[in-house]
Subunit: 149 residues, 2 copies
DNA sequence: GATAATATTTGCATAATGCAAGTATGAGCC
DNA sequence: GGCTCATACTTGCATTATGCAAATATTATC
């Protein structure tokens, strides 16, 4: 396990599995895709549908349907933007906010458990490194460019 | 962007998009799922179907069909295990090996580009940290346990 | 040699995806 | 104002992906 790609491949695979497992929230069984949407809407301020879809790299039509599903589950709200009536603004319902928080807590709990196998110093180094890595990816123009954050 | 989950969420999203983009290899347009299979078969020695499916966290029946698709694309081979005829052993064809290598190269090239926005020291620290993190996840019993490597 | 366990495949029903086309609103220009 | 074009979002439709239950074939157990 020497080259960079290898390390990241294994890591993302594991985190992906984690994502699958951590999405069961109070009866509702959220797919990773749905969980990602809640996460992203939560961290933004009244984003439009298009913005979130682009950020997540999802086709808008697929995204439209995912949003419909989340609305039906009473986790998401769609509000028409008064300044441009073509646009819909997304926000979490109370249940949606709760679901997002629960998922976040579960994920962090799992990460804490993993961190227990690392020293304090190693943890901090890891988080600092990932932060720098994210920033570097943000600067890169090659691909994955639409992802902000 | 302060808690651990947040950092990893953003990172995996970006790397996921990268995976999507990097899978176009010589005409063949591989899905991330297919690419993961090639990757995993490549790094193992004649694994069984079950082993790979479990490692990737995929249902065996879904996996069986993914394998069929890759065989049809002439990237993968299925050989009956002489010592247990229930078992099929997977291996890459020459084209499959080539595809896997190409993807690996593309991914590493992209990562190199990203690394250009980081200092030598930061890169090394990142890779060392991720390695430790992977090992820690391997030790964790909570979830994602089946993933070896 | 009968029964249980394992590895893989197929049937089937469901869900996810994305392109093309449709609707509704806004912007630019005469 | 009114025509044309661009934009934000939704629906039709065909394709693909998914997973459970059941089938098949082989091996292990007793």
């Amino acid at each position: 396990m020497e080259n960079a790609r290898e390390l990241f491949q294994i890591m993302t695979r594991r985190l992906g599995l984690l994502n699958k497992n951590c999405c069961t929230v109070g009866g509702c069984d959220l797919s990773p895709a749905h969980s990602h949407i809640l996460y992203e809407v939560d961290r933004r301020h009244n984003p439009s549908m298009q913005q979130i879809a682009e950020t997540l790299g999802t086709d808008v039509t697929t995204f439209s349907r995912q949003v419909q599903a989340l609305i039906k589950m009473n986790l998401l709200q769609k509000t028409p933007d008064p300044s441009d009536r073509r646009v819909y603004t997304l926000s979490l319902t109370v249940s949606g906010k709760m679901a997002a928080t629960t998922i976040d807590t579960q994920m962090n709990a799992y990460l804490d458990e993993v961190f227990s196998y690392m020293s304090e110093f190693e943890q901090e180094t890891l988080l600092r490194s990932v932060k720098l890595f994210n920033e570097a990816m943000g600067k890169s123009s090659k691909c994955c460019a639409p992802v902000t954050g």
